[in-house]
């Protein structure tokens, strides 16, 4: 374990009751890295992601982010989450707020910006995700792809140092996936550090610095995309990739 790493996950284990859902999961990321967690449903990849911003509590192991122990009981989770953005599978936009209201809430209430500053920042982030024409729209008035882009803007508005994506395109109709992936590609190009759970293998392949394959709560294999996709070392990895490919 090196101190230079931006995010170091070491031997993280988690149980729901008697059932162990994560077994000694370890991986590292540098600043600006994109790491993609893949694996069958129930493999623990979303749970692993949620442990990083403490939406789920890991019982064992260590997660060091930028030199701080995330799992420490003394850590202020609200401060942690200010710096770690999260994008949800089901969008989870605040249903009673407009697009601008959704994005401005964090800057206004958490960062303490003025109403005008928060609004300005919200508009800027919405423009960045291509929604300059939807400032006043409510979530129910937007398509799934638009909602997810608002979700990304909401996370970006906190100017996080790490972005977590929890299956950001899984709830979308196929024709709407592209617009979300495009925004994510843009973030990669800007050097955002991203930890992504996804089934979009072509995206993973194109942008990931490292792929971590989880199955049954274990890291089965990890490595750069070319290696993992072309020459998987483990049979289970190969089988999973074949199954996924046949659905593409």
């Amino acid at each position: 374990m090196s101190d230079d790493e931006f995010l170091t996950v070491t031997d993280v284990s988690k149980w729901y009751g008697d059932e162990q859902v994560l077994h000694d999961v370890s991986f590292e990321m540098d600043r600006g890295d994109v790491t993609v967690l893949i694996g069958p449903s129930g493999s623990g990849k979303s749970t692993m992601l949620r442990c990083v911003n403490r939406l789920a509590e890991a019982q064992e192991g260590s997660i060091r982010l930028d030199g701080e122990e995330v799992l420490s009981p003394d850590l202020d989770v609200d401060v942690l989450r200010r710096e770690v953005g999260m994008v949800f599978q089901g969008f989870n936009l605040f249903a009673h707020l407009t697009a601008v209201g959704n994005v401005a809430l964090g800057p206004r209430r958490v960062l303490g910006l003025s109403e005008a500053e928060a609004r300005e920042r919200a508009e800027e982030k919405l423009e960045r995700v291509g929604l300059a024409d939807q400032f006043a729209s409510y979530p129910a008035e937007l398509s799934g792809g638009q909602q997810q882009r608002v979700g990304i803007a909401r996370a970006l508005a906190m100017e996080p140092k790490l972005m977590l994506f929890d299956e950001p395109t899984s709830a979308l109709d196929p024709e709407l996936i592209g617009e979300v992936l495009e925004v994510m590609h843009g973030l990669v190009d800007e050097g955002m550090t991203m930890l992504v759970v996804t089934h979009e293998m072509s995206f993973a392949r194109a942008v990931a610095d490292e792929i971590v394959f989880l199955d049954g709560g274990h890291v089965v294999e990890r490595g750069p995309p070319d290696q993992l996709f072309e020459r998987p070392e483990k049979e289970r990895t190969g089988r999973f990739l074949e199954r996924i490919a046949s659905h593409d």
């Binding site: 911003n53 609200d78 989870n92 964090g106 209430r109 409510y138 129910a140 008035e141």
Partner: protein
Amino acid sequence: MPPAATTALAAVDSAALATELASAATRLQIGQPEDWEFVLRNTDYLGVGVLLTVGLTVASILLGFVVGFPAGAVEVYGDGLLKRVVSTAGIVLRGTPIVVILIVMYFVVGVPQINLGVVSISSAMTAGILGLGLRSAAYQSQIFRATLASVDDGQMEAGRSIGLSRFEAVRYVVVPQALRRSIPGFQNEFTIVLKDTSIVFAIGLAELLTRGYDLFSEQTTAVLEVILFISAIYFVLTFTTNRALDRLGDYYAIPEGESA
């Protein structure tokens, strides 16, 4: 309140409405003209009852909200002793007949008269407001408990994910949505409290319905006329208030529109 509601409320004790209702009733041959005249002679007496009914209702509903909303929130988000105390108090209040609650407030607790400078509230009135208000709080807490719990967990999670504390996420994300969903239940509660104010006769307060009793005891042929007249007033009060709350609900409704 929308203009329609204010005008309608203002019209309640206006003689014009009373006369119109009475003549319509006479034309339809409901009741006897001389009994309607008797009712009309006593509109002032009934008007004081209306004021008492409205005052009790408004004060009780407000007290019920101020106490019931936090109580509902404690039942959803609280834990330990506080939650047990709140939920037990609710069960006791909901399980006790309102007459008993009022009698306990007035004769056992013996709440004092309250002087607010210009107005002074009699101890019976104070007991009435406390009794009706606390019982309403017990029912309102269940309205808010249900609507707070009905807001999807993902909303809270998303709030926490941007760094809002639990309290802030409840306040800025969950409560605004829960309050909107509370309006229909609140309309019911308002209607129930309005009509239950009549029970304050048990502690000697003469509100609208009690004054009606007084009147038809005096002129026993006028039972139907008095009751119809009073019912019309209750109807106007519940109808206008419910419509006002409908408008409030429409005003704050979250736009859905066609998905783009």
